[in-house]
Symmetry: C3
Subunit: 349 residues, 3 copies
């Protein structure tokens, strides 16, 4: 812990485009939550609900959206405090492993080409005719198959498998344990047996994509499974063969996307969602957590539930769902009243 990095509030304000209220020469050595901060830390205060905590926090400084008199020490005021915090956190990322270059306890096929300043840790495997860009980092246990392309500055975390013929763009982050390019799930029945349809397509992952831990993105059956620029995927997600995910789309953990689904750009897919095969999801659509999507969704639509319906309808429906016992009682009571009415009328007839 010797030589801890510190930064002055003036430095941070310059980085995030904010202004200091208090002492710009004040130094912080980390960024932590209001609850965990010490007086050497700066803390985010981006949610007014935590105003009470602001009065008791030990933080030496705050990043705020507007001046906060309740806090007695230094502040940096920024238009976008969330963005300012993200940039500030970037100053305090723990240093990555010092090792650089190609470690001898790795295997790189002689036919593959590596860019400049590539880090290959022990236990990495790179197959034939692959091309690895500049400043790529391959962590231990990474498997890179034959004829794979990896763009500049991409980071591949431990025990990731990238199978043959797949391509990964620049500045991509693949988190540990993820599998890119396993065979899609395709069989044809032949007299009671399931005959494997050879999966001879590939996976293409564009620049700036981030894929979480222990995901599986299958190769296309014939064509390409394509994750476009800037897509962000959480952990344990399943992407089946021939899926296309549009630019900037966000997919939360444990969601499953079936074969040949097309997801547009800027879509937000919640966690544990299932999307049925050949479904198309329009740009900027939003799909609530745990939804089951069997039919295509228009651009900008917001859906929830299983089967997925417009989010507002789902809210109504799910409220009524828990009142089903009451509804049932109301219907029974009506039946009695109506029978009584019929009897009254019949009796007088």
């Amino acid at each position: 812990m010797e030589g801890k990095r510190t930064h002055t509030l003036d430095e941070i304000a310059a980085l995030v485009g904010g202004r200091v209220i208090g002492d710009g020469a004040f130094r912080v050595s980390g960024i932590r939550s209001l609850e965990e901060a010490t007086k050497e830390d700066i803390s985010p205060f981006t949610d007014r609900r935590y105003l009470g905590v602001v009065q008791t926090t030990c933080a030496g400084a705050l990043i705020v959206g507007k001046e906060t008199p309740a806090f007695p020490r230094h502040q940096i005021v920024a238009d976008r405090p969330d963005l300012a915090c993200a940039k500030t956190a970037g100053l305090f990322i723990p240093q990555a492993s010092g090792f650089e270059g190609i470690h001898g306890q790795s295997f790189i096929h002689e036919s593959s080409r590596l860019g400049r300043d590539v880090t290959v840790h022990p236990g990495v495997y790179v197959g034939e005719d692959s091309v690895i860009g500049d400043r790529v980092v391959l962590y231990p246990g990474v498997f890179v198959g034959d004829r794979v392309r990896i763009g500049d500055e991409t980071v591949v975390h431990p025990n990731v498998s990238i199978l043959h013929d797949c391509s990964v763009g620049k500045a991509v982050i693949l988190h540990a344990g993820t599998v890119i390019g396993a065979d899609g799930f395709g069989f044809v029945r032949d007299g009671g047996r399931s005959v494997k349809i050879p999966q001879i397509g590939t996976v293409r992952i564009d620049d700036g994509v981030e894929v979480g831990a222990n995901c599986a993105i299958d190769r296309g059956a014939l064509g390409t499974t394509w994750i476009k620029r800037g897509v962000k995927m959480d952990n344990l997600i399943q992407i089946a063969h021939n899926v296309v995910v549009g630019e900037g789309t966000i997919i939360v953990a444990q969601t499953g996307v079936s074969g040949s689904v097309e997801i547009g750009r800027g879509v937000v897919v919640g966690g544990q969602v299932g999307i049925g095969d050949h479904v198309s999801v329009g740009d900027r659509a939003m799909i609530g957590s745990q939804s089951g999507v069997a039919k295509s969704i228009e651009s900008g639509e917001m859906v929830s539930g299983t089967p997925a319906v417009p989010h507002r309808l789902w809210l109504k429906t799910s409220r009524l769902l828990t009142r089903l016992p009451v509804l049932n009682d109301r219907v029974r009571s009506l039946e009695k009243k109506v029978d009584a009415l019929v009897r009254r009328l019949d009796g007088r007839a």
Copy 2:
């Protein structure tokens, strides 16, 4: 890309048992979808809905179920075009890594026996007293524990872990990141603590099984977790201890099967299904995606939903579910009408 493999239509027709309409000497260098094909490719045309695309595709040839005059070039007509396409795709599988034999950067315990023509890549570990069949391929990062048996021609993809005492049959495919034989989840409470029940059973995987990427198949608590011949499992599937999965059953991605479940033969389990413990699922049953199965299912039954009910009932129910607000309004309107009727009758009484 030098030396691209090409095949004549006559060769392909012979392989798939079809007949050529057009020039049997025409050569193709790949199989691709109608949309992606070039004039050097053959394309599947198995779904009449894509008839429009047939008229615009660049494909040099088609595989079809019956003669298709709308397509101006060569055709192969086959009784089972889906099966014919699967066989044709097999001709164009990208060549696997050239390496063969036992690489020096692997570890194989001296007490283990390897069959003929086994490929052991760098970074493989094989423990004590294990037996690996002929022509098995172990990719980098594969862990094979002690006393494991692996049958002939099985392919174990990168970073798969097969723990001690498990057995894997012939011609099995285990996709990357999958774990065979981790401990089942079993504890007994003892004064507020969870005491681990040692999981001393094993996993047995029979011939011709395929398991997707990042699955987990736990060992039995005492007995055996058993995946029978020809079972096909997609990615990210959880199989708990002592489960039995019958011959030829298909399980789609992200499904979870709880302890001691018995699934029959020829069953189809959709994606993201949950099956509760000790449930039994009869032969040829079908379970819809995202279902929650808490009770046993008869042979041939088709169920959906949570809790799972016969599929037709679920279709009805789920349609009515989204009309709950309407139903609620109808009941309210009835209540008003009935109250009005009662008042009318009372007023006149």
Copy 3:
């Protein structure tokens, strides 16, 4: 199979605190289920529903809760037969790999310190400034990042990744393929782009925790993701950044816990549950399988369903759900009757 371990019933009875009925000198060589046992095995009989099987089992001996005259051979009677079986199974755990010490085909950074009697298998990587406790076992393919702490007697199974700055307590078991300390899923929007919020927190796993295969436990964004003492997690579970899981809590397979959720102690979370972000779950609460929890849950509460409601209400509701078609018919029938009544009254008015 030479030198099979055997134990006398007297030895087992002493271990489990039971008493022998029959011959205490009788030797068993394993513990198996009633169905699979041979006469050399002892079997658990803890569920009276299997009384029929007791009469036909080949088992040489039983562990029972009370004397069982229907079984003609030896018995060990124990107050807690489940606990007795767990202890007995412990006698028959297959021997772990004989290898001990630090294998040369591993990489351990010179700045890291290892305790006594540590086993480091081939293909292990340990980064800078890490500290590994006594008798720890690291299986092949394990990645330990920089500045990681691992407590005494912890077992890390194959292909597990523990990323930088995380800490793992004593006597912890991490099953194969699990990822500890991948980045949490945090982005801020900036003009259509998703800007990564650097995840500079850590993961802390306390003593006695067990984590299943292919799980993902993300590091905190700023603070700590904390799995407390004695927590037991099944396979394929997602724990997002800044989650806290209380002592002794049990989480079943494929459940996903969103960011900043706080789960109390002694909670039981079923399989395939989703818990929304910032939710708090009280001590000893129980959450049914496949539930979707969007709101906080009180201590001791038992909830089920999506959205999660009290378990009893869910039971009622889900029964009524499948009777929706009937309810719909009843409402239609009421509407007709009421219309008829209105007409009758109008006609006579």
